[in-house]
Amino acid sequence: MTTEKYESYYVPDQSHWPIVGAVALFLIAIGAGNYVANLDTGEGIGGWLLLAGIAILIYMVFGWFSNVIDESMAGKYSAQMDNSFRQGMSWFIFSEVMFFAAFFGALLYARVYSVPWLGGAGNNLETMQVLWPEFLATWPLTKTPDGTTTEAMGWNGLPLYNTILLMSSSFTAHFAHVALEQNRRGALKIWLGITVLFGLAFLVLQVEEYIHAYSSMGLTLASGIYGNTFFLLTGFHGMHVTLGTIMLIVMFCRVFKGHFTPDNHFAFQAASWYWHFVDVVWVVLFLFVYII
């Protein structure tokens, strides 16, 4: 059995998409570099290069994935190929987990070590008295050693609604998957549609929360380590939700085009895994950024 599966492993012909993608990433990196380096003057064409790079990247992703979908629909992929995709996606998600781990690490380090030490914990009493004798170590850090003040974001209200939304969407995504496996296309469309709506609602509320933080709470990216970790963690999470929602929308369109069968739906599965991953990150984030 394994031998037969093995023999038909599909090795694609030359493809021009990767090099298009390489040019796109180059433009994104050099554009973003220029843009950021000239942030104070606002000069340079960095922003335009960045946009051009993103446009080419979108074109690349679209073209590349169309090729893959065509090949898949033409039945060129064996079960072994499907397995390669699955394993590739799993390890990609693992790498994403490690990306978030860096920022959670920073958050925990700040809360457990750096802020208490600045407040004189451990053997740092003298350092504190010399540097910032007024400093009070609290979390959320609403007043930094150099005197920047902010308000702390509470966990009830918008963040709680968002938690409920995202956790429910994980269930609806699962129901959609079950429906797909049982070949109930109607239920699949409904559950997947609801998942997409939950995702979009989450993003709207997140934007709402950011506006509130910036306009009436004085909580910004530059509000010391509390604002830093808050915005980078929720911000990168939000970017991942955006990506996940786009994936789900694409799956939604493909379902309507009649793609996927109960046995063969790797792309759907991958999008759904990604969505569950985004959800788990949010739960951890809600716990450590908002509640505790």
């Binding site: 394994t2 031998t3 599966k5 093995y6 023999e7 038909s8 492993y9 599909y10 090795v11 694609p12 012909d13 030359q14 493809s15 998409w17 990767p18 993608g21 390489a22 990433l25 180059f26 994104i28 990196a29 050099i30 973003a32 570099g33 220029n34 950021v36 380096a37 590349w64 390669s84 995709f85 394993q87 590739g88 390890w91 990609f92 790498s95 994403e96 987990v97 490690m98 990306f99 781990a101 860096a102 920022f103 690490g105 920073a106 380090y109 700040a110 070590y113 750096s114 802020v115 600045l118 540097l131 930094t144 050693p145 990216l221 530059a222 010391g224 380590i225 604002g227 830093n228 980078l232």
Partner: protein
Amino acid sequence: MTTATETLEHHDDDHHDHKMTGIKRWLYTTNHKDIGSLYLWFSFIMFLTGGAMAMVIRAELFQPGLQIIEPDFFNQMTTVHGLIMVFGAIMPAFTGLANWMLPMMIGAPDMALPRLNNWSFWILPFAFAILLSSLFMESGGPNFGWTFYAPLSTTYSNGSTAFFVFAVHIMGISSIMGAINIVVTIMNLRAPGMTYMKMPLFVWTFFITAYLLIAVMPVLAGTVTMVLTDTYFGTSFFNAAGGGDPVMFQHIFWFFGHPEVYIMILPAFGIVSTIIPAFARKPLFGYSSMVYATSSIAFLSFIVWAHHMFTTGMPLAGELFFMYCTMLIAVPTGVKVFNWVATMWQGSMTFETPMLFSIAFVILFTIGGFSGLMLAMTPVDFQYHDTYFVVAHFHYVLVTGSLFSIFAGAYYWLPKWTGHMYSEKLGKLHFWCSLISVNLLFFPMHFLGLAGMPRRIPDYALQFADFNKWVSIGGFAFGLSQLIFLVVVIKCIKGGEKAPAKPWDGAEGLEWEVPSPAPYHTFSTPPEIK
């Protein structure tokens, strides 16, 4: 039956389209051998580029006092030299070897995700173009050391940080995609019958290395992102005034950085463990102990990072924990060294160039390991920290370790890649010139460091002058010796004695069962492993 027909048809497809020639062949290729060659050539070009920067550093340090370059440019040279050698020379060379050899060693038709493989490679030259271009910008290139410690890279940076950060992001994406491809290929594409414990050790070491890459490259991405926002967007992750801590930078960086060190040495173990049995004409002394030792080193690499930070004033418990964990690594590493020695013991050895480089690896890497043990001892490290002793240590493991293993691998597989034997005479010349000059280059650095010469400083006290002169001479000689390698490779590609399918009589593995040069597509149908 249907499968068989499909395979045949598919076979034909392959033969139609692999004839694409010219630049398009290389830009669009999905072939693991093409991509492997691209990686290897790219890494060699980067090796010469980074090497040229080392020459600049050694020229400035030839004499005490400032004579050739400005201190700021000196800092840019040390920084970019480090970045290029780590991310541009050593890592792509290993990925290149993996690309070439893994599918052949496990009997796979190609890498599992061939288009992704192409993308992983082609973003690399762009990343280094960005990094190198920053050297020519008004602000100058990155000057904060390849470790980019905050606040050097944040508060005190010269404006190149943004380019540095985005270049590193692309290098990271490349490594992660390459590593995912390696893991998936090994897990999913092994020939029927090749169980995990029947894989060649080379495959094992790349398997474990790829896991390390997937786990820590994203952490590097997070680190550079925090550096970016600290520098340009007013965050204070690494700034105490905002509640952060510059020492936190070091923790996050070295959480990536220490596994990164093993990413650059585990594949070397794999290469040497392939070559020594071939030329000792004996199987590897303890295969499974090597597998377990490699895994243990990989695991330990995650819990030793703060041994780079003994002088930052960590709590005593932390210093002790990281000291003992670090010394623990000597155990599995010792298992490896004894394994190589025991493999050679009573073997009928011959000393072709790959074997010479491998034996030099065993001895010189062990010296680097011992100096590492010295650095692992906290109280001793207080003395050695940031001196040339550290520079000597990591160059012994990276140059006479990783780089020598890459040379060994290149000589070993050149006949398979090109179909010709390389010139043994020139290969041996390359080896002996490299061996002598590399020790002249790095050995005196131990003494300089113990005597207190700090690293990354363009000037030094007069009493260090003699050793530095010899070090520089060794450096230039080592740099020139590498051109011999270029000549060997070009000559070998162009012609030379025809290589048989298996030019080394002690060699084992599937790669020697296909003709030399290896056909464009190998193992479209998998071999049966018994």
